[in-house]
């Protein structure tokens, strides 16, 4: 579904991605792991067309999207829920969700909205409230709900569990499995290595702007290097 080869990108003249290779198959949950500052967020920003890559190639559903603009990438169904939510604080919950379907037909909207509100009953209660007035957990739900409104085929979730209480973190991971069952392919960018690998099919470990380690979730969980550096075993 997604093929990335030799992707290089950065900011100004600083190279952050030094040749990333990743492939994601349809209906998978794939974890992208790595500590702070290794380039995970830069990588997915490049996937979404927020920053232009320097070299390398990205194909999505067989189509070359290396030079495609952010809006057209949304059209194709590659949707990102960014770290830090980036919801629209001055808009109501409903307006935030409706804007999630900005690039979709009006007909699809009410159906999408209903599906999101089924998934997040809490958002239905707050539908007329300004997004800024909600708690962190609710804002995270809104961010994911807004992503769902765009009918994602590949949903990229950047640190969805960040800043959530342990109970909410559990719920968040259950939700991700649920979204995957609904047919979405998921790229999960997480620092919570253990929980992410438990629900993922495969994982990639990024270090210094390149993929250092890859394998099935089980292989990675059993990998002694990974256990030492990330799982604290």
């Amino acid at each position: 579904m997604l093929e990335v080869t030799g992707l290089k990108a950065g900011y100004n003249r600083v190279e952050v991605l030094r040749g990333v290779d990743i492939s994601i198959r349809p209906k998978e949950i794939v974890a992208l792991l790595g500590s702070n500052g290794v380039g995970k967020t830069t990588f997915i920003a490049t996937l979404s067309g927020l920053i232009q890559s320097w070299s390398g190639e990205i194909t999505f559903k067989g189509q070359d999207i290396t030079r495609t603009d952010a809006a057209s990438i949304v059209d194709l169904g590659l949707i990102q829920v960014p770290e830090g939510r980036h919801i629209f604080p001055n808009l109501t919950v409903q307006e935030n969700l409706v804007l999630g379907s900005y690039r979709r037909g009006r007909k699809a909207r009410s159906a999408n909205l209903e599906r999101v509100l089924e998934t997040f009953p809490r958002l239905r209660e707050r539908i007329r409230q300004k997004a800024a007035t909600m708690s962190g957990g609710e804002q995270q739900m809104l961010a994911i709900g807004r992503g769902m409104m765009a009918e994602p085929e590949l949903l990229i979730l950047d640190e969805p569990s960040l800043g959530l209480s342990p109970l909410l973190v559990e719920e968040m991971f259950e939700l991700i499995v649920e979204l995957n069952k609904q047919g979405m392919t998921i790229l999960l960018v997480e620092q919570n290595v253990h929980l992410s690998l438990e629900i993922s099919n495969r994982g990639f470990v990024m270090e210094n702007g390149a993929i250092k380690l890859t394998g099935t979730a089980k292989e990675l969980l059993d990998n002694p290097d990974l256990q030492k550096s990330y799982l604290g075993v």
């Binding site: 960014p82 980036h86 629209f88 900005y102």
Partner: protein
Amino acid sequence: MINFSILLPSILNGLTTGALYALVALGLTLIYGVLHIINFAHGALLMVAMYLVYFLYKLFGLDPYLALLVVPAAMFVIGYVLQRTIIGNASHGRDENILLVTLGLSIVIENLALFFFASDTQVVDTPYAFDVVELFGAFLPVPKVIAFVGALLTALALWLLMGWTDLGRAIRALARERKGARLVGINVDHIFAMSFGIGIGVLGIAACLLLPTYYVYPQVGHGFVLIAFTIVVLGGMGSFIGALLGGFIIGVVEAVGGLVLGESLGQIGIFVIFILVLLFRPQGLLGHRA
């Protein structure tokens, strides 16, 4: 000394003038709200719109009110193209650069107008320019009443546009959260240009409503923009209702001030208010604290 029968017409007159100020301020506040810049070219573009109305009348005999069908649309296109070509590109995404680019634009536009149209004041002679209508015992010029209604309708239309359309939601979303906007597929350059275009299009409406009672010359924008800027600060940066309310307050203060202090000193009140607002409520009447 001043009784109600003099005060009322003065207040009503102030409200009608204030409505026109509000129109100029509405575009300014929209552009500020989204692009986070004070558009220094606002006055120059108002002047361009007024000359458009004037020449449509002069060359084709088009009534200023009929020009409402043409001039706002033309100004919208001018605004859209300016943002998409000159302002957006020359600013390299930095707010302080946009400020300077619009300032430069205003100087270029005004001097072009001076060069081509000379500094003579031009008027549009309409048969209804001196018609009056009686309201609560006060006599008001018909064009000013029309301008008042037109300003209210424009504010209402803007409010509906911003609140109930995809475009409006996208504009408001982009104003506060650029990354989130890009991730839902909002085309940033296009929406910036749409906002600028709408703000400038409103100037086209203002020009059509102004000319039956006003005149045009290359620096005509200065006075209006100074007042519009005061209104935007008074009402709260980026607030539509604030701009409308601020416009009415400024219009009435100017008119009543003129009545009490004499015509030429009427504007003193505006700047007294401006300074008081900056001192005691810097976020404006309906604005939010930064």
